[in-house]
Each structure stands twice: as structure tokens, then as C-alpha cells.
Symmetry: C2
Subunit: 501 residues, 2 copies
């Protein structure tokens, strides 16, 4: 009992769950401007908005542990009051495949939608790694045309350029999953359809995926006998004979800035494999379409080392990477890496309907993009301008002050009455904390003469840094003007115009 009582009197610590954060005006306003631009690009391309709910059934997300009724890790799952497992969505693709299956008779075919919204992942949080973050997805479901894949690349380019990035600031790397399949067919590996074959191929895919981290030598070891890392851990290799491993390595190295040449090399490597040839032909069509749309290899290249995780992709895959570096505060170089990615996934809808439905699209993550654009000074980092603050000099005149506030609002200018407690210095401190451009002052002097004083707070701050003679300053108040009451709005507008210049 005493324990319970103690608990009741304990104050609660105000804190946000691990890996989560609060966003304030200074972060929300520039982010929303950015999202608005992204949305506009998606809409120009004919994608329409979709908003699925935050919670989904765990089986819909494909997130039950294999052969079990327990949800997999990595998601925020709970049991609903009817005992069914539900989870917060961890991406926007699984909900899309659910929507397409659920409403398929009512949706246009192809179905082209975008969705911008938060997703939640129960992963280890870290600096810059949050458990709730925004994704901006666009997808075309119901088209097997490589034109849809080429469009994904062009939308990624268009979006990044709309945000201010230029050719050379980024590169889109494209690969096709079918080609590695073809290469592995060509070297005589067992088919994907047997458990043995699938496992073997996955090992090779994993090895290729480590190119960034381990370099070519590391991948070569993993394709062969295996690899001993610095910590002494040994990873078993795929056990390919040297000749076969060499072909895979040629495949990995086949990327360069001449898309046609890449296709030629890949064609040679896939030999007679039908799947591999299909993959190369798709890339050839994508190349042609991109060229006709004006997207040359300074923006989109073919790079067979791109794997895009081990997930559900079945054809072309895409990755957008920022290529520039900036110096951080300590003078160290900093790069930003991948900011968007996607690919073709023809199997996701099949889980529901049993029928394969071709689909392709990509997802743009905004957190790294925001960091990169801020580092390039292409995003506003200034605190947003606060409202005009009408100060309270005489508490009996609240009604008059409110009328003044209303005049500003009617003119479309954000304004408010100071609602706190405190004299003039405290009111100025408040206006300062809000980054208000202007404070309005009316005491009995002003009211008697039907006048009002307007204080330009930015000019005031600038001047006060320069002044040497404080008394002189106070006497002259260079940043303050007194005008007739009916000129209050127009005179204030003049000051605001100077701010926005």
C-alpha cells in the first residue's frame, strides 16, 4: 500500500519513447514545403494520392515469424481486443499491395498512386536513425511495361531536381534482378525453384550485396571458399569454382557510364539464359526510353552491383545516391549516400489473390535529403517568422487591442495579442522568442492621438548591435515609428515586405 501511495505522488517524467522525436515549426515548415514539391511532381506524373491506415493486420504485412503465430521483430505489433495481431505499418508497399488486392475490381488498371506518410520500425535507434520516419512512395501497379520502370527513374530525377539538386549532385543506378539470375543459370547453378538452389543463390546475392562494405576482394572470397574478417569471424562462402566466381565478378564489374555498352557486356555474360536475356532486353528498352526523354548517363547509369536488399524485387531495381560531399563543422568530409530506391515487384499482390500482378515504383526517404539540402544551403534553416505581436500596455483596453489584432488578420497577416503575464520587457522577450517581425505598441498617449507605434524588431536587433551610446538609442528609437491608427496595417506591411526581400 505504501508503495502504491508513493507511486501516485511521483511526478511523471516528460519524455518521448526511445527513437522518437518531436518536430517544431522550424523543422515542420521547410519539410512541408519540400513534401509539397514532391507531391506536385508525383501529381504531374499522374499519380493520385492514397492514404491507408497506420495499423494493418500482421499477416497482411507478411510479418509473422516463419511457421508461427508470433509477429516478427522490427515492427510495433499488438493484439487487438479481438485477439488478432495488428501492427503499425513499417512501409507503404505492403499496404499498397493489400489495397490493390482488396479493391481490384474498382480501381483503374493500371493503378497509379502515391502515398506520403510516416512508417514505424522497431529497430535500434541511433543518431539520425528514428523509429518513425516519412516515406514518399509512388508506384504503378498493373503494368509490366519497361516504360513504367523508365518512368520511375525519371520521376526520381525530376523530384531531386525540383528540390534544387542538379545533374552531378546525384546518380540513379539501375540493375535488373533477372540478369544475375541469368548469369547464375549460365554458370550452371541449380534453379531457384529447389530449396537447395534458392539457398545457394541467396548466398551469392548476399555476397554481391556486400560489395560496398567489403570491396571486390571480399566479395570474391565470399563467392569462393569463404572469408575471415578482422574480428576473426568466418563467413562460409558460396563455394563457386574459380571460373564461375570470375563470371560473377565480371557481372559485378560490368557497370560503367555507357549504358549501351553495359547491356552488351551483360548480354554476353547471361549466355543462353532466357531470364537473363529478358533482363538485358528490359534494360535496353529502359535505356532507349530514358534517352528519348533526355535522361543520359550523367543522371541514370546501369550498375549490376546494385542489389537493393534481399527483398521482394523481381526485375529492374533502382537506387538514387547523392554524390557530393560537404564538410561538417569539424572539417570532415561527409557524404549522404542513398536517398531513394525501388524496383519491380511482381509477386507482392500474389500473396492475396494468387495471381501475379506486375508492379514497379520507388520510395524517397526525406530525412537524409533534408540533411543534404541543409548542408548545401538549399533549404531554409532560418527560424520561421512569428506573428505580429500586439502588446498590452493597458489591461483595460484588451477589447481595443483585440480589434487591432483582428485588422491584421483580416488583411491576411498572422497576428496575436500578447496573452501572457508581464510588462513590456517580457512582451518584447516573447516577440523575440517567436521571431516576430513587428510589435505593435499603443498606450494612452497613442490612443489619445488615435495613433499607434510600430516596432521593427529585426531592424531593432540589427541596430542594437551597432549602437555605442545606449541613451541616445533609447531616445531616438530608430526602429520604431508612430503612425495614425488607420495606417497601422499598411505601414506594418511595408516592414514585412522588407523581411521577405
Amino acid at each position: 500500500m505504501s508503495k502504491k501511495k508513493k507511486k501516485k505522488n511521483t511526478k511523471i517524467k516528460p519524455r518521448v519513447p526511445r527513437g522518437f522525436r518531436d518536430l517544431f515549426a522550424g523543422e515542420i515548415i521547410p519539410r512541408d514545403k519540400m513534401l509539397q514539391r514532391i507531391r506536385r511532381v508525383y501529381e504531374l506524373h499522374g499519380f493520385e494520392p492514397l492514404e491507408t491506415s497506420a495499423l494493418e493486420y500482421v499477416d497482411v504485412l507478411g510479418k509473422f515469424l516463419p511457421e508461427s503465430d508470433e509477429p516478427d521483430g522490427g515492427i510495433f505489433a499488438l493484439q487487438d481486443d479481438d485477439e488478432q495481431w495488428i501492427s503499425m505499418r513499417y512501409d507503404l508497399t505492403a499496404p499498397l499491395s493489400r489495397v490493390v488486392s482488396q479493391y481490384r475490381l474498382d480501381l483503374p488498371n493500371p493503378f497509379r498512386r502515391y502515398q506520403i506518410g510516416p512508417v514505424w520500425r522497431q529497430e535500434k535507434p541511433g543518431p539520425g536513425r528514428f523509429r518513425q520516419f516519412y516515406q514518399c512512395d509512388f508506384d504503378t501497379v498493373g503494368s509490366k511495361s519497361p516504360a513504367a520502370d523508365a518512368e520511375v527513374c525519371s520521376v526520381m530525377c525530376k523530384t531531386l531536381e525540383t528540390l534544387g539538386l542538379e545533374k552531378g549532385d546525384y546518380i540513379i543506378r539501375v540493375n535488373n534482378r533477372k540478369i544475375l539470375t541469368g548469369v547464375l543459370d549460365a554458370i550452371g547453378l541449380e534453379e531457384d525453384s529447389t530449396a537447395e538452389g534458392a539457398k545457394h543463390r541467396l548466398t551469392i546475392l548476399r555476397a554481391v550485396d556486400k560489395l560496398d562494405r567489403l570491396g571486390e576482394d571480399g566479395v570474391e572470397e565470399l563467392l569462393g571458399k569463404g572469408r575471415l574478417d578482422k574480428s576473426g569471424d568466418y563467413t562460409d562462402g558460396a563455394g563457386l569454382p574459380a571460373e564461375a566466381a570470375d563470371i560473377v565478378m565480371q557481372f559485378i564489374r560490368a557497370g560503367n557510364h555507357d549504358r549501351k555498352q553495359v547491356c552488351k557486356r551483360l548480354r554476353a555474360l547471361v549466355g543462353e539464359s532466357q531470364t537473363g536475356l529478358e533482363g538485358v532486353e528490359e534494360l535496353e528498352v529502359i535505356d532507349e526510353l530514358l534517352t528519348s526523354m533526355g535522361y543520359e548517363s550523367d543522371r541514370v547509369i546501369f550498375d549490376p552491383s546494385v542489389v537493393r536488399g534481399l527483398a521482394y524485387y523481381t526485375g529492374p531495381v533502382f537506387e538514387a545516391e547523392l554524390t557530393f560531399e560537404v564538410l561538417d563543422k569539424k572539417g570532415n568530409k561527409r557524404s549522404f549516400g542513398s536517398v531513394a530506391g525501388g524496383g519491380r515487384y511482381d509477386g507482392l499482390v500474389k500473396r492475396f489473390t494468387g495471381q501475379e500482378v506486375p508492379a514497379t515504383g520507388a520510395s524517397i526517404g526525406i530525412d537524409r535529403l533534408i540533411a543534404a539540402l541543409q548542408a548545401k544551403e538549399m533549404m531554409d534553416t532560418k527560424p520561421p517568422l512569428g506573428p505580429i505581436v500586439v502588446t498590452v500596455m493597458d489591461k483595460k483596453r484588451l477589447g481595443d487591442y483585440q480589434k487591432m489584432v483582428a485588422k491584421f488578420r483580416d488583411a491576411g497577416m498572422p497576428a496575436e495579442l500578447f496573452l501572457g503575464n508581464g510588462g513590456f520587457p517580457k512582451q518584447m522577450k516573447y516577440a523575440d522568442a517567436r521571431h516576430s517581425p513587428v510589435a505593435i505598441i499603443a498606450g494612452s498617449d497613442e490612443f489619445d492621438n488615435d495613433q499607434v507605434s510600430i516596432k521593427d524588431l529585426r531592424l531593432g536587433a540589427e541596430l542594437s548591435e551597432e549602437i555605442t551610446d545606449r541613451e541616445e538609442w533609447i531616445k531616438n528609437q530608430p526602429a520604431q515609428v508612430t503612425v495614425p491608427m488607420d495606417e497601422m496595417v499598411s505601414e506594418t506591411q511595408k516592414i514585412l515586405d522588407r523581411y521577405t526581400k
Copy 2:
């Protein structure tokens, strides 16, 4: 094993969890326009945006069961991987009080924020009752001034009127919690500070809150001995003597359209109670300020029967109600009731800091508002216009078609290449499903003459309803024009201009 195997092969049913829903373009676009307008009103009033995360610690939400470590019902709660209980937010006020406590030294004082976003409640779903819905909150934390309360009323009026409602379509009812406290003091009830007193007063508050449902007679019974309802259930009463109950009934009935007169009556009823007098005086200031801002009793009235649930309010409470009725499809009258509400809550921050912080604000719920505005035909219910569809007449010319699409996009006109599979009829069916205004057609005839055909799809639909001679129609194609390729964009623009008129 066989059971598991069977499970693996079972198709997953595409469905959304109970009480949740998907929103498509036709719902999202008008809703977002509406939210944009609401946001603009809040910003004009000096509120700045805040975005808290979807998940909060359960103790922060104040949602542990009394004297227990188990979360209360009504919320979607789960244990994080560190065993701590977290929950999806069920409103935007608890997160605000957390934010104010957590960052209090860094925030402007008063802190004026708005937050628009979904909240989640694990309640019984029903028609029009969802478990995820949007709230639009604005609050001023750190001001005890009745001017802040008056402003809440004016923001509610402004918001509803910005959305198209007029005086007479809605009414804001205002009460003050302190007044009932004063009335109960005046009739000699035990103080709130004793367990006995608090319980007794809560019973009376609950009785008053049932006025809508039970009428005056029902409330009177609940204030006295108790009440037997039609189903035979008996509810114990508050046991007030007839004289005391009569005073409470006078209090309930004191509302009318003359705010000053209401204040006078209430002043008489609270007698010598200090708290009651405070409450009346606050209403008097609110009345004055509202009058000076032009909000007369055709928009804001004082109504002592407004209780606003039994929650955390400590002073003025507000409720916005739509007053008009519409006829539904069956010809039955339908009203919409409360669409917004709020009040003053001076105790919420205290849970964290131990110090009382004055706060006031309101929350606008958009679902009923949308239903009401749609019923009044003040909200667009037409499906949103789809993109211009460039049809594919010759698959070898995909590059040329993409260039045409690019011309539209460059001119700021949403457009897309038909990416599906199928001939002309299927492409027209697609354009129709997307509510596209225009289809672009270019076959070898057109390309040979450097021309393009533009099909006005709405005009086509209108004309095809009128036609009697189908062959004549097909020959003349009155809704289709063929123009030089370099006039494609400008000619299409002319058709689009007709659409937006």
C-alpha cells in the same frame, strides 16, 4: 507439419483492421483542402505547428489503470523491446502537455501551437465511428487571461466560417466549470478536496451532463433520489434536498441568448462562493471581449448545461454545434451535433512538473464537419480530375509518346503515358476510370503529318448521351480535334479551361 504446410499455402485475405479505412483521392483531396484552410486560420491567429510522434509512453498519456501497471482500455498499447508500455496517442492534448513540460525552458511563454493529425482509439467501431481519425487542435499554454478563452471561441467561429458555414449554421456554447462548483458551494455541499465531497460533486456533474439525453425531469430525478429508466435499471441519485436540487436546476436553465443576463443570473446563484464568482467574472470578461471583436450571441452563447465530459477542464468550456438539419436520401431529417470543443485545463502540465500551468484551447474534429459540408453541398464531391492520358497506338513509338507526355508536364499539366496492356477501347476505359479530361491520340497518320488528335472526354461523354445516330457520331467525332503537334499543349489547355469553369 501438415497443418503448417497448409497454412503456408493459404492465401491471405486483404482487409483492414476493424474500425480502420483507406482513403482514396476523391476523399483525400477535398479533405486536404479543408485542412489547409483550417491550418491557415490557426496560423493567422499566431499558432505555430507542432508534430509529436504517434507513440507515447503510457504514463505520459495518463492511461495506466488506477493503482496498476496495466494500460487502461481504449488505447492501442504495446510493450516496447525494453518492456516499457507505449501507446498510440489517443488525443493531441496529452502530448502537448508532455512537450510543454519537457522543453519548458526553450519554448516561448505563452506557447501557442496547433497540431493536425490522426489519433487512435481502441473503441467500439460503428457507422461513421472509426478508430483512427483526424483532430485539429490549437492551444495557448501559459496564459490565464480570459482573453485566451475568448480567442478560442473566435478561432472556432472563424474556422467554421472559413469552411463556408454562416452565422446561424452553428452556435458556440460556453460555460465555466467554476460556476457549478460555486453553486454547489452555495448550497453547502462538502468541498471537492475530500474524497466524499469529490464523489458527491461528480455524481451531480454526471447528472447535469445527461440533460441532452434525459431532459430536465430526468436530471431532476438524478439530483434527488434517483431514476428508474425504461429498461428497469435504477440509477442512484445525488440525494440533494428539493431546495438544493432546485438551485442546480435553475443553474442549468440559466442559459439564453443574452450573455449579460445569463451572467447576472449566475452571479445570483453562486452567492458568496469565491470560485463561483471568479467563474462568473471570467464569463463577463469573455462576453466583453467577444462583443468588442464582433461576436454577438448569434454566434456565441453562455449555456450552463454544457459540461464537456468529465475530464480535465478547470475553467471555461466550449462546444461548437451545427444547428442546421438536412434531409438524408430517405427524406429523414439529419443533424450533425458537436463538431468542436475544448476548454481551460490548468492541471495537465502539473502531472509532470508539479506546477500548475494555465492552458486553454480546442479541438476540431473533421469527420462530422465533412459529412455536414457535403450535405450542404459546400464541399466538392465530384471525383478529382485525372491526368491527360497519352494513348499508345504504336508500341514502337513509346519514346515519342513519352516526349509528348513530357511536354504537358513541363507546362504544369498532369499527364501520363498509358502503361497498361490493351488496345484503344481499354485505354479509353482507363482514362474514364481516372476521370481524365483529355486523351491524346497519335497513330501513323498523325505522325506522318506532324499532327496529334485531342479527345475531349467530358464533351464526348455529354454528346454520347445525346446522340441518336451512332454511325454519324463515329464519323464526325465532334469531341475530337486534330491539330499540329506544336499546338498540342495550347489546344489541350483550352479544353482544360472549359473544365475548370
